[in-house]
Amino acid sequence: MRESPESLEQRIAGLRSAVRRALAGGDRTAARALRAELRAAEDSWERAVLGGGDPKPVLLPVREQVHHALSLLGVPAAPKLIVAVHDAFFSGELASSRLTSLRRDEERSFRSAPYSRPYYLCAALTADLLAPARGLLVISTWPLPTRIVGPYSPRADFLTSAIRVAEHTLRTGAGGDAVRPLLWRFAANIPGAAGDHPHDADPRRLLTAATAELEVHTGKDTEQRRQAADRARRQLGDVEQLFGARLAAAARAQNGRLP
């Protein structure tokens, strides 16, 4: 049970004088033990008075955290970007190492009990072969064209991510040290988005610049994605539409011919 702050204060005072007496008497071993006790008491006092102190327990499972970050971005994203977005806008820790097995676990869960969860985290599909794209995560509830990546998609999705992050920053008024590196990461590589210095990462300018460049690519990108999605709906079963077709399976389906 917890000690009250008052009794802790008394105990701390008593321990302080005990340490002083032990040192004066030359008994270093006893002094060391008493100092350890003193420090523990001081820690308990701080926790009792100031609250917190313990590392905050992670409240959400990894898949929820990833879901939040991905929902913010709205497009297929690599684990590194997911972690960066999470660190900038959400609390708790998300270690990128925990993302590696995620996709496989999700697929296994889906196969053993299909549609038993409200959403699944899956790999994006490549537009040419409808195979799982390496290192890109999506949410199963997104429309199929969004979950497919074509040749223009890496750039288009990068720009869309930039727009979503800038909008989120403006909407929530978030700022400061956590968000700035993320904004800069986008701004540095979009023409007209960057100021002279990383500290100038301005979400408004980023939004304008990214929107302008996206305008250039979006037509071709959406068209390719839409065509691939049509093909996927015709050719793939439920599981493959979420987790991608493996080449072996596709080749079998086409009588051994390569797609």
Binding site: R134, R155, F158
Partner: protein, 364 residues
């Protein structure tokens, strides 16, 4: 040709063939005169295993740290849809903004098979040549025929299309400081890239396009100064290209080398290995140590006969006609009478000895 291939197979014995990659092809060009290396590479012999068997293991391979650093830098440049690379290409080469399509060729639907990937690369480039393709091709798998054997090239490059020209982009993690990079590293990168340029040219020729569609300038992407910021530099690889082309044509004449060898000879690991290898002439140079697994064996051989090769190519050429160190020393101090063709070099050596003696006196 098939005859030769069968003969090379016999030389290799039961050991599995080791395919060439850009590194080994580039290494071939550093010492074009070495018949031993040419033959063993053509036969796909695992030189490392041979050297180990002979008791001259070469401490070869890249450091773990260098590999990790290289991978991290490459990943950084390619992150976020190649964002940093596009920024660089737009700033340096004026790449138009609409050209951002990327084709990833490092697997075909989860399959890493070389032939499949090569076919995929061909298709992607053919589409690009038809005017309707991507701008960047990540990890294209290229192929070069070497002594009748297809060699797939370790694909750690990008092909890049600007207008109707293709470029090879190589991402390297050594730094360009104040516009300067370690010349040795650049030379190694240039040799490797030249192999890719050549392979890419062959592929375009097969697709019915002129070889000149592939630029002889390679784009090297390296960290700039002491930062992680990537910078691009052009490296002209025309010289390396011609060296490699000549080398490859020499390899296809490897039948001359084979013809001189006894029919039943083999390089299989076993008792006769050392003598079989000695039967093929090597041309050892100190540089070999950094590029050939057999170097320590050849060095030992050169030392045993006191060959002038030990002192490097420059010295060997300076004392042309003098085979061993003992002869050279003998001619210099006059204890050996020069043969008619050695008169000139003997005079030079004596002069050198005189100068050295005077210099040493001056010091004392």
């Amino acid at each position: 040709m098939t005859d030769l291939a069968a003969r090379l197979d016999r030389l290799r014995g039961d050991a599995p063939a080791r395919n060439h990659d850009a590194r080994t092809i580039a290494a071939l060009t550093t010492n074009p005169g070495c018949g031993r290396r040419g033959l063993m590479d053509a036969a796909g012999i695992d030189k490392d295993a041979v050297a180990r068997y002979l008791g001259f293991p070469a401490p070869f391979g890249q450091s773990q740290f260098a590999i990790a650093r290289g991978n991290a830098f490459e990943k950084q440049v390619k992150d976020d849809g190649f964002a940093e690379l596009f920024t660089l290409l737009r700033e340096r080469l004026g790449l138009p903004v609409p050209q951002v399509a990327i084709e990833s060729l490092d697997e075909v639907g989860g399959n890493h098979g070389s032939e499949l990937r090569h076919a995929q690369t061909r298709r992607a480039l053919a589409r690009a040549l038809a005017g309707d393709g991507s701008t960047l091709f990540d990890h294209p798998l290229l192929r070069l025929d070497i002594a009748g054997q297809p060699a797939y090239l370790e694909p750690d490059v990008l092909a890049f299309r600007l207008g109707d020209k293709f470029y090879v982009i190589e991402i390297k993690s050594f730094a360009i400081i104040d516009g300067q990079a370690d010349p040795e590293q650049v030379a190694a990168a240039a040799r490797q890239s030249a192999v890719y340029v050549l392979a890419l040219r062959r592929l375009l020729t097969q697709l019915g396009h002129p070889a000149t569609a592939v630029s002889h300038e390679v784009i090297l992407v390296c960290p700039e100064n002491f930062s992680n910021q990537p910078a691009a530099a052009f490296v002209d690889v025309r010289k390396q290209l011609s060296v490699i082309e000549r080398q490859l044509s020499r390899i296809s004449r490897i039948d001359d080398l084979v013809a001189a060898l006894p029919e039943e000879m083999t390089f299989e690991l076993g008792d006769g290995l050392a003598s079989a290898i000695r039967a093929v002439e090597a041309r050892y140079a100190p540089d070999c140590v950094s590029s050939c697994e057999l170097a320590f064996f050849c060095r030992d051989e050169a030392r045993a006969c006191g060959s002038t090769d030990l002192l490097g190519i420059a010295v060997r050429d300076d004392v042309g006609g003098v085979e061993t160190l003992a002869t050279a020393l003998g001619l210099a101090d006059g204890s050996l009478a020069p043969s008619p063709e050695q008169v000139e070099i003997a005079a030079k050596l004596r002069l050198a000895r005189l100068l050295r003696a005077q210099a040493l006196e001056g010091v004392a």
